[in-house]
Amino acid sequence: MKRITRRSLIQQAFAYSALASCSMDKKKKHSVGGAPIQPDADDGSAKEGPNSAGLFDPNERFLIVLGCFGGASINDSFMALSESQVKAAGGDPGKLNCFSDQQLVRLSGSELTAVKIQKDIDTLGGYKVDTDQSTFLKKHVQDMLVVTTNMTSVNHGVAQMRSLTGNDAWRGRTLQEAVALQYGKNKPLANINMGSGGYSFVGIDKELPEYARQYTVSDPKYWPLGLHSSIGLSTQIESELLQLARDSRNGLEEISNFNRTFKGSAEVVRWKQQRLDKIQTFEQLDLVNRLFFLEQNGSGIEGAKEAKMLRELFPNYGIDHFEAQAMMAYLAITSGVASAVTLSPNSAALTSGNVKDFINPPIAFDFSHTDHRGTQAMMWDRMLSVADKLITLLKAMEFNPLTGESFWDRSMIYFATEFGRSKNKEPGSETFASAHDLNNGSLIMSPFVNGNSVLGAVDSKSILTHGFDLNSGEPVKGRLTSEKEFYTGVLTAMDVDLTGSGLPTVTAFKKS
């Protein structure tokens, strides 16, 4: 591990600004110059350096799940094929979803491809797609692992859920719960889920410890206010007086017949424990100020130190939940609140105000039912833009001063998606519709995985993906990667203890 300082990281990170990577961002000309993070501030603030607050274990890891709502096709990104490849393999490039040579970018020494698309989506009022995945690929290829998958459902909600649970591979625990269980014991809210639909699924393992259970968040902008009993309200009560009232409440409960009768109820016991443990923890750790990123003058809320920088980096946070979720994800990880965070676009159409300037198409990736190529390009760009910014931010924040590791050195981003899309296209047309297809692949990004590689392969004649040897990683024709195997590979790469889980051995994901 090379020796790095926070300042050098920030300078490098922002010199290669997050904004350089994604074409949609280039158009918006975000202003993130200067030194938005002030990690070298001399005020000794505990918020800035979570290690100094004693919240981090040097071995811990963080999982970020990006839910690609609607079905992100790997054939339209990092496993895309050219027409010439399909033709050479004996396939019909006119009928399969493949690209002209000009639309594909390949890097020397890499199996991964990137797609460049320029087209109008007529069914979105002529929205102009102009995307290029190659900048992202060039910047992050060393941390990118694409794994072929074969899902078991083409129902959105069910498949989304299974992309997190490996189809109940391990007692119904989600990946986030498993990671929170391993690394989140000392976190106030180890598993924060801001996702939509099946990506907000709560695992079904009844024996999962309380601390690993997820906290579902609907609006990340205002949610932190719920971590304090009164901050920002017109009614303020001094903490000393509030404690008096809490003591009185506890005294009243001792007298109450209702309490005496039902004090053994599991619900009541759990409630009292949560009340005792959490309220003071949240307030003592000042979570509201660690996580709040809106500008609210005069509210009594100071907010996160990085809030201004984040607002500039994610300028649509006010209207776009996905950007606001990314801001929250960054703050939750770097301020020691969470081990696992989940975010995703939702199914609602979103424009910047101009009806032709879509931020999110209706039903997100699933608008591919109407215009596959344009939608996939647009949505992949949306996902990669947020991922790029998060990675850049995490690289710029020091995790461990002793080793010089950044937060990115301890993190993984999993691009979860429910399934792929059908492989056919309308002959001779760039505008065609697609259906759901079990066959696909998923992108994982992390310093913990074998980067710049693909596990499995895509058959050039059919453009269907196939699997690989779970440990050597060698492609195996005729083998399909199950949800359970994928789930195990992710947790193995995250160094989660799988003892007694009954899961198969899958070491191919983990950096060798």
Partner: protein, 224 residues
């Protein structure tokens, strides 16, 4: 004979309907004439001590979003949309913290299933809502004693003990639909005395907020 029974039945039904009055709250009992044989100051008459027969099933439910909102609004006689608003704009109960209170978010986030049980953030969110609503009730009651709903006769610096007991009784009747026990009254009077001993600018109003908070965050109020 049949006809007589029919007429009698109608009379019984009419009397039952008439007694309900369509009010979900118990009719406020004039404290001085409490019909339950109490001391007239809200405390229940002396009864044998409850021995705490513990429920074997312990089958209680947390009041979820809509029930909680309706109950707090009714208890404190406040419009639902005034109970708690983040930055004075967004409803704590319906817009911002609804998932933690057992609501769903079908339109924005495709979340159709409510949480099965309270999550870690639920207790603090409940406190937030109650502090806001109790603060509002105390503000109103202290701004206009004549139209006070819960806290009457305690607006002056030296509130008399009877008015305090009456306020506690009203609070219990409205919140828990019963009269307070003597020990419960004493508990809240103890809180009042603690505040009086401090140099607070408006100890009476502060007590009103805190007493309201103590009752409305108790398990008896938030479970059923």
């Amino acid at each position: 004979m049949v006809r007589l029974k029919y007429v009698l039945s109608l009379i019984v039904i009419a009397s039952l309907v008439g007694s309900c009055g369509g009010n979900i709250l118990p009719q406020e009992t004039p404290v001085a004439n409490a019909p339950d044989g109490s001391d007239g100051q809200g405390a229940e008459p002396k009864k044998p001590e409850f021995n705490g027969a513990l429920s074997e099933k312990g089958n209680v439910k947390f009041k979820r979003q809509a029930v909680l909102e309706a109950d707090i609004a009714a208890t404190l006689d406040l419009p639902k949309d005034s109970l708690c608003n983040e930055f004075g704009q967004f409803s704590c109960i319906n817009d911002i913290h609804h998932l933690a209170l057992g609501g769903v978010d079908a339109y924005d986030n495709n979340i159709y299933d409510a949480i099965a049980e309270p999550i870690a953030t639920t207790p603090v969110i409940l406190e937030r809502i109650v502090i806001s609503a109790c603060g509002l009730r105390a503000e109103k009651d202290f701004a206009n004693e004549g139209s006070a709903v819960v806290f009457k006769g305690i607006q002056s610096e030296k509130a008399d003990p009877i008015s305090i007991k009456e306020s506690i009784t009203r609070l219990y009747q409205r919140a828990l639909l019963r009269n307070p026990k003597e020990a419960e009254i004493n508990q809240l009077i103890g809180l009042h005395e603690s505040l009086q001993a401090r140099s607070l600018s408006e100890p009476g109003k502060q007590w009103a907020q805190l007493a309201c908070y103590a009752v409305l965050t108790s398990v008896e109020y938030i479970f059923y």
